[in-house]
Amino acid sequence: MKRVGGEPLIVKNMSFAYDGKEIFNNLNLEINAGDFCSIIGPSGCGKTTLLNLLAGFLQPNTGHIRMHDRDIIPEDPLLGYVFQTSALFPWLTALENAEFGLKMVGVGQKERQKTAQSYLDLVGLSEFGDYLPHRLSGGMQQRVSLARTLVNNPHLLLMDEPFGALDALTREVMQDELLRIWHDLGQTVIFITHDIDEAVYLSDRIIVLNVAPNGIFTEINSVLPRPRSGPKTRTDNMFWEYKKSLIQHITDVHH
C-alpha cells in the first residue's frame, strides 16, 4: 500500500438533462490527483447525479468526463465508489465482500483473502471477517464498504455521503479514519456531503453546487493545515473562520 499518483479528473463543457429538466449546463471542473475535494449543496441540487456522472453510471448529453485521456466507465479499475448506505452484498461475509473486486478480475482465493484481510485490518475490523453485514453496526458496515472499495486500489474514490446515516460520534471517528487512510494511500477523493463541518474538516477544496442547472458554482480552497487531528482542528479558530466564510458563500449562492 503506497501513495498512488495519477492524472487529474477533467470535466469539460458537460451538460446533462434528465426527463427534460436541465441539471447541469456547461460544467467545467478539474480535480488534481491526490486532492480531497468535497461537493456540498442542498438536497436536490444534483450532488448524487454529479457523482453518478463522474462514475459513468450516467452519460453526459454533451461534453465529457475523462481521466487518463479516457471516458470514465463504472467498471474502470481506477474507480472506487462508496455508497450512501452501505451497499454490501447481504449474502456475503465481510471478508467475502472485501474480496469481491479481486474475484472479478480472477485473483486466486488464497491471495485475495490475504489482501482483503489486510484491508479489513486497515479499517480496524480484523476480527469481523466472518460476519454477515446485517450483524455489523452502521459504522462497521461503512468501514467494510470502504475496505471493499480500497482493495481494488482505486486512484479516484467517489464517496456519496458515506457517513450521512451514522450518529455524530461515529461520524467523527470515521472522518478521522478516512483522513488517516487517505493520507497513507493518497487517492483523489470526491466526497459528497451536506454537512458543513464535515466538508471543512476533511477537504482541500470545497465546491458549492448551485441549485440546478449548475453552470456556475463557488469553490473555496482550504487553508487548514494538515495533518488534521480531531478535537484540536475542530476547535481551532481557523476552522471557525473557514466555516464562517463557507456559510457566507453558501448563503450567497442561494440568494
Binding site: F89, P90, W91, M104
Partner: protein, 290 residues
C-alpha cells in the same frame, strides 16, 4: 448451556389423536347396530388410529400364503410401497420440469417488462383455476390414440400435466418477485467493483434472488403434491390417490386414512428436512415472506 424451550407444537399430534379417538368412539356408539363394529369403533365408517396403523402393517407384511395359515412376512414389492414410489416419481418428474421451466420464465419475466406484462394475465388465469379442474380435459387430450401408449403406463401425461400446472405458476410468480427485488445499489456496487456481463448474473442476480427461488420451490412442491394426489383419483394406475380410491371401493376404510396419513407425512418430511433447512440458510439476511 441454553435451556431447551418447550414448544407447544408437541401437543398438536396427541390432540388430533384424542379428537380422532373420541369421534370414532362416538360414531361407533351411536351407529347402526348390526354393522361391523365393536365397542370402540365402526371400521366401515371411521376406524380408530390403531386400526389404520394395523392396516399399514397388513400392507407391508402381506400373507405368505392364502391357505389360511395367517403367517405374514415383509415384502419390498408390496402394494403400499409401489403406490408411494409411483406418486413420488410423478411428483419428481412433474415438479422438476415445472421448476426448470419456471426458473427460465420467472427470470425472463423479472428482467423484461414487456414479457412480464404479457405473462401476467396467463399467470392470473392459471392461478385462479384449481389445478384439478384441468384434469378431465387433460385425460381426454392425453388418451387420444397418439398418446395412448404413454398414458397406459404409470408415467401418466394427464397427471403430470396437472402437477405441472399446479407447481409452475406459483414458482414463476415467486421467482419473478425475486428478480424484481434485487437492489439497484447491489448491481451498481458490483459494477464499480469490476463485475461485467455474466459476472453480474453469477455473483449478484443469482445469489440475490436465491431466497425467493427456494421459497418458490417450497410453494411449488406443496401445490404440485396436493394436485398430484387429487389427479391420481381420476383413473390412473397406482399412486396414493389410487390407494385411497381402492380403500373406498373395497370397503377398506382404514386404507383411506392410511393414504391421507402418508400424503401428509411425505409432505411434512420434505418441508422439515429439505425446504425449511434451505430456507433457514437464507433467513438470516433475507426478508422473503411468501
Amino acid at each position: 448451556m441454553a435451556k431447551r424451550r418447550f414448544s407447544y407444537a408437541w401437543l398438536s399430534i396427541p390432540a388430533v389423536l384424542l379428537v380422532w379417538f373420541l369421534l370414532a368412539w362416538f360414531l361407533a356408539w351411536s351407529g347402526e347396530w348390526g354393522e361391523l363394529f365393536d365397542r370402540f369403533e365402526n371400521q366401515l365408517r371411521l376406524p380408530q388410529s390403531w386400526t389404520v396403523v394395523y392396516s399399514g402393517y397388513e400392507e407391508l407384511f402381506p400373507l405368505v400364503d392364502l391357505s389360511g395359515s395367517g403367517i405374514r412376512a415383509f415384502q419390498w414389492d408390496n402394494e403400499l410401497f409401489k403406490n408411494m414410489y409411483v406418486s413420488l416419481f410423478r411428483e419428481v418428474v412433474g415438479f422438476g420440469s415445472a421448476l426448470i421451466l419456471a426458473l427460465i420464465v420467472g427470470a425472463a419475466t423479472g428482467f423484461f417488462k414487456p414479457f412480464r406484462q404479457f405473462m401476467y394475465p396467463i399467470t392470473a388465469l392459471f392461478q385462479s383455476v384449481p389445478p384439478i379442474a384441468w384434469a378431465p380435459i387433460m385425460v381426454l387430450v392425453f388418451t387420444s390414440p397418439f398418446y395412448q401408449s404413454l398414458t397406459a403406463s404409470v408415467f401418466s401425461l394427464a397427471v403430470l400435466s396437472v402437477i405441472f400446472i399446479a407447481g409452475f405458476f406459483p414458482m414463476v410468480v415467486t421467482i419473478q418477485e425475486g428478480v424484481l427485488q434485487i437492489q439497484g445499489s447491489d448491481v451498481k456496487a458490483a459494477r464499480v467493483l469490476g463485475a461485467k456481463g455474466w459476472q453480474l448474473y453469477r455473483y449478484v442476480y443469482f445469489p440475490a434472488s436465491l431466497p425467493f427461488i427456494t421459497t418458490g420451490m417450497r410453494l411449488g412442491f406443496s401445490y404440485a403434491w396436493r394436485a398430484l394426489v387429487a389427479a391420481e383419483m381420476l383413473g390412473v394406475e397406482f399412486g396414493i390417490g389410487q390407494l385411497i380410491l381402492t380403500g373406498d371401493a373395497t370397503g377398506k376404510t382404514p386404507l383411506i386414512l392410511l393414504g391421507v396419513t402418508i400424503i401428509g407425512g411425505i409432505s411434512f418430511l420434505f418441508e422439515a428436512f429439505i425446504f425449511k433447512r434451505i430456507e433457514a440458510h437464507y433467513s438470516e439476511w433475507s426478508h422473503t415472506n411468501a
